[in-house]
Symmetry: D2
């Protein structure tokens, strides 16, 4: 079945995601803040582009959005030229931005009031996952809505999961980021210690990565960490944005996050070192900074 789809936000994630939708045969209209990129996309994928989110969303069955932060989402959805103003009755808004659970509830209400449905749907898997169509998507919303949107999202995902009501997608993504923060700092201290101790770091990882210390990060990041290479992966600036959301939410629900909080500050040190765009594994570089 061919649907009319709209995609708002053509960053490193959104650009290929919207591309997958077009390649799957859907009729896709995109919007991007800088029109040049929207034009480039429409040429590459034979789709349409519009000059405002509201214009892009007219007649769409599903509107997808993947922008920077809460305020960016508000602007393109419930802002003056936002998609909610023009979406047709019964259509669905899917937000792929990693944002607050509060925003998800706010958009859910706005959509209900406008006769629309909403799903918060943050992703993990990074730029590579977006390009390969292998993202993992964590959704919050009504089951009936999810069942409509799920097959479409599968175009760019290896797993699309309904986690609960509106906001549950964002909350699940927060759990993911919280787990990563402590894990990467532990891994960094381990590799740092190994180097100081004069061990062959690669050999050490070979030996311990299958056991109780093993992790995705150890397996996928140790080589670049040992080589002091961080110009790749998930940027520290984004991680800090996400951790800010986690810590604010923790404050709201009474969840204490002591180590997450201090590692967020360690990432501030990485930013100060010039590492705003480095991969999150650059916590190791911070440990070496004072050597």
């Amino acid at each position: 079945m061919t649907l009319k789809l709209t995609f708002i936000g053509l960053g490193v994630m959104g650009y290929p995601m919207a591309g997958h939708l077009a390649k799957a045969g859907h009729q896709v209209t995109v919007y991007n803040r800088s029109t040049a990129k929207a034009e480039k996309w429409s040429t590459e994928f034979k789709g349409q582009f519009a000059l405002t989110p509201a214009l892009a969303a007219q007649d769409a069955d599903i509107v997808f959005c993947c922008v920077g932060n809460d305020d960016d989402v508000r602007s393109v959805t419930i802002g003056d030229e936002g998609v909610v103003n023009t979406m047709k009755a019964g259509s669905i808004l899917v937000d792929h931005t990693t944002a607050s659970a509060e925003l998800a509830l706010e958009l859910d209400t706005a959509c209900r009031n406008a006769g629309l449905s909403f799903i918060d749907a943050p992703v993990s898997g990074g730029q590579q996952g977006a390009e390969n169509g292998k993202l993992t998507i964590m959704c919050g919303g009504e089951e009936s809505t999810f069942h409509i949107a799920q097959p479409i999202m599968s175009t760019y995902a290896q797993a699309v999961n309904l986690m609960g009501q509106a906001g549950a997608g964002q909350l699940t993504k927060m759990v993911n980021q919280i787990c990563i923060a402590g894990l990467v700092q532990g891994l960094s201290e381990g590799l740092y210690f190994a180097e100081k101790a004069g061990l062959d770091q690669n050999k050490v990882i070979d030996v311990i990565s299958k056991g109780a210390a093993g992790s995705w990060q150890m397996l996928n990041r140790h080589k670049t960490m040992i080589e002091d290479q961080y110009n790749h992966g998930f940027a520290v600036d984004w991680m800090r944005k996400d951790l800010d959301i986690c810590l604010s939410q923790g404050r709201k629900i009474g969840a204490k996050l002591p180590i997450t909080a201090i590692i967020d500050q360690f990432y501030a040190e990485v930013q100060a070192m010039g590492g705003a765009r480095w991969d999150t594994s650059s916590l190791l570089k911070r440990l070496k900074a004072t050597d």
Copy 2:
């Protein structure tokens, strides 16, 4: 080839390890502080037991040792009734205790002076790994010695690795424990947050465990953590002993371990809660303690 082997220390690890040696057809003599257990072992595995380490080690080709801490090792090796006093020229001492790198160097020297060879060989894989013969062993010592001892250790190990000179086994084990501390705290904060946020914790783990937040601990410990079950696994008391070794070594080699240091203190809180024997994943229980 049948060897004459000695095993010192029949704790939850040593008991089955020595058993594997006997079952492989070697002639094994054991020593244990409480003789009752040594007697039980000798009945079960048709081996010998001796009343002192020195007596147990006479004529042995290789002497294995797996006891509590540095001082325990000193006592059974270079102490008055220690094995070094009676081991025959050219034989090998293998220490499976997780201990300091300093001790490894001390024993290496003592062995050299006595015409013996030494390997420090701490293990990972826990009680289950010892029972199933699936331990991972991290060795420090001479290559020629390693090549003799390696096949014998393979009786109870899935991997036996030479990491470098004497002490390198202990240092590798330290890296392992350092990586675990941060990882488990991150996982605990994540699961705690998930519960507070009203998410289905098992579903969350299903979704995120394959991605960037994934780890052995997440896969193998989330169920018991969610069920608040900690009467299993690697005990907090042992973890604190190991982290003490890591932090002392860090002090010596100038390796900063900020998060390892504070998590060691969190484990002190777990001990104070009565969790001395709980699994290391009980950091989650600590987070809930003040709720």
Copy 3:
């Protein structure tokens, strides 16, 4: 000189502060969210009360405000019934609320646009300081405005300081709270250790309080800490509100606050223990919680 003054917010701080103004002979009109308290105040201090901030601020030479948080301030100043709507040209708005520096800049602009002057003026010294008229006030704003408002604020302050342009008062208050967080945790760990070590805690404080470990908190809080009494002083809920402001500001200006961030999380544990209204020194009680 008798002035027409308005005071918005009659909490434990504002109530006595407004009282000092009335006792100094000024003509004071108050506003409070719950009118009962405003009425009580007007009876006690022979002043007026009004039913909205806007009504209270008519004809005032200076309007003071001391409410809960940023949003509360916005509501009573630039909200629909806020004071800025009715303040006469050339009059001054003084905000005693501990709030964000961003809010101070926002109000400064709003006042300029309305032909008014603004001073952010958070206080320290607590309820007792407010009652005794011994507060310390940290101001941000224009010097000429400060010179008019300073003598009036002196009615309830022992020190009124101009720290810089708008926002500088709030920023100074943040420095104060940041210094306190680390200090109180250090003091708590010290007293806790002393108890565990079996020392006479009072005697220890007698000896060390004059030296390099000495502090206002040690001098003024050790007795209640030792007695496990926390129903007094500066509430943990307020401290967390303030630390949230500090951490947000730190994020904005690139100031890393690792220990402030983690102690803020320790305060979350105190809240979870039921300590929302306890004094900030209750970090000691948190250390004991797991014993």
Copy 4:
């Protein structure tokens, strides 16, 4: 009354302390590892020097000791040429070294066995306090012994306090160092934030130092901290030695010291930056290191 006194260890503390004893008219014999310094001292203060601790201690009424660490103390007291071998029956050994409580108990027992009395007596007040005779001394031991030694120690102290049985002096000193660690980090984060916020740091300290954030460190260290001057005061190397003692003791008595533990690691970063001899207030410099 003129006594025969012995002083072991002529470092920056011991040299002037022994000098005060001589100037008070006592007959003082000193020992120092490097004899040149002992000779210099004996010339300056018209005393004697000896070539071993044992020789120095013969006939002494009280033997004072102020050396580096536990092992140094053991060497000069119960070592082969230690003072305990030659001290006369009924004489007193006073240890001014900041050392472990365990050592204090060990020496107390050794002294009792030799018919001697022991007092552990660590000091605070720094080099300046030693030179001006204004130290604060925290003692552990028997009251009767204390009453004999107290007036002699007053020669170089403004306060000499008996805190309890043997070890209580050391434990009190630990409380002092624990309180300082958190306090100095809080102060550092505060001053750092102030600078980043563009405030006049000196003016800020003027305003907040009398209130709830005030401390000896704020009063006495803010100027040098603001000027980035750390070549003075209490060296980071010594602080780490002391914190190591605190953390080991905490481990023994079950006292959790989370922030002390992590700040000890921050001091490791200062050492790595080349700050081994910098004042403890150099935690501020660490915060700036990644800027």
